[in-house]
């Protein structure tokens, strides 16, 4: 049976350092994903992710079990990026989008559930500015609520909502999908 994050943390705090390996394996892709959005160079993203985990380890004692451990790690990653690497979070939402290709033109609503269409959305998500990708990932794929994302990123809830809204509009424009009335 898979051990919960909290029980693993208890073991680590009681001296079983090897349990931290399980936590790293559980979260490394997610932290590295965040790193990749902050840094264009994979090696920098890797160094950043490594530093995040070292900080997580050093500060495990201050994790009180309030809120999810994933949210705590994300918050730590965002704080590290902003405070140490001086990443300007606002700049993550800027950037030129590549030209749309002809194949990205109008796709009828009937195709909405089509797997090819989903694939197209995934492709389009990857070319959105990194900030939108991050908030989309946190909200839609990690399941965090707006207040939780606000707590993680340090942006006000209103800003998160507007980033999600703007991100969706960018996606819609690129996919030329029209909402039902």
């Amino acid at each position: 049976m898979e051990q919960s994050d909290n029980s693993l943390i208890d073991f680590i705090l009681n001296g079983d350092k090897e349990c931290f390996r399980i936590l790293i394996d559980r979260y490394k892709e997610r932290v590295f994903y965040v790193g990749k959005k902050f840094f264009s160079n994979p090696a920098d993203a890797e160094d950043f992710s490594q530093e995040v985990f070292i900080r997580v380890y050093e500060r495990l004692g201050s994790y009180r079990g309030r809120g999810s451990f994933a949210a705590w790690i994300y918050r730590l990653a965002f704080n590290l990026a902003v405070n140490k690497y001086h990443i300007k979070k606002r700049t993550l939402f800027e950037g030129e989008l590549p030209e749309e290709t002809a194949s990205h033109a109008y796709i009828p609503e009937e195709k909405v559930l089509d797997s090819l269409y989903k694939e197209k959305i995934r492709e389009e998500l990857k070319v959105l500015p990194p900030g939108y990708q991050l908030v989309f990932n946190l909200h839609y794929f990690e399941g965090f609520t707006y207040p939780e994302i606000s707590n993680i990123t340090g942006f006000p809830v209103g800003t998160i909502k507007s980033h999600i809204y703007r991100g969706k509009n960018l996606l819609k424009e690129r996919l030329a999908v029209y909402e039902y009335e």
């Binding site: 680590i12 705090l13 009681n14 001296g15 350092k17 090897e18 931290f20 390996r21 790293i24 394996d25 490394k28 892709e29 997610r30 590295f32 994903y33 994979p42 890797e46 992710s49 490594q50 985990f53 070292i54 380890y57 050093e58 500060r59 495990l60 004692g61 609503e109 909405v112 559930l113 269409y117 989903k118 959305i121 995934r122 998500l125 989309f136 990932n137 839609y140 794929f141 990690e142 969706k168 996606l171 819609k172 996919l175 999908v177 029209y178 909402e179 039902y180 009335e181």
Partner: protein, 113 residues
Amino acid sequence: MNTNEKTGIDAILPSLEYIGEEKEELTAYLAGRNFTDRIMEHIQTTKIHTQNSLFWLLFCIFNITLLLIFGGGRTIFMEILMHFDVLSEVLFFFLGLTLTSGVIGFVLSISRN
């Protein structure tokens, strides 16, 4: 039509597994770089409770400093305390208690390393 029903992008996004799609790619990259092992190597030398120990040590030093200030020589504080006998006893008793708890906290934080 139900106005609460999610449509278009709103309906599709939650059904995607965005990071899931990239996960294999990320896993392969990190595995090739021995990511986990390198962190584990680093933390073998890291003391997890260093910060706690430092806090308790500073707390003890602060207490001792206060005891020295209030207890040693004829300082301005002593002049004030001389007029309030009971207050000075309470103060020293309190400082003694906090110093003791500081020492206990320090020893416990060290022993958990």
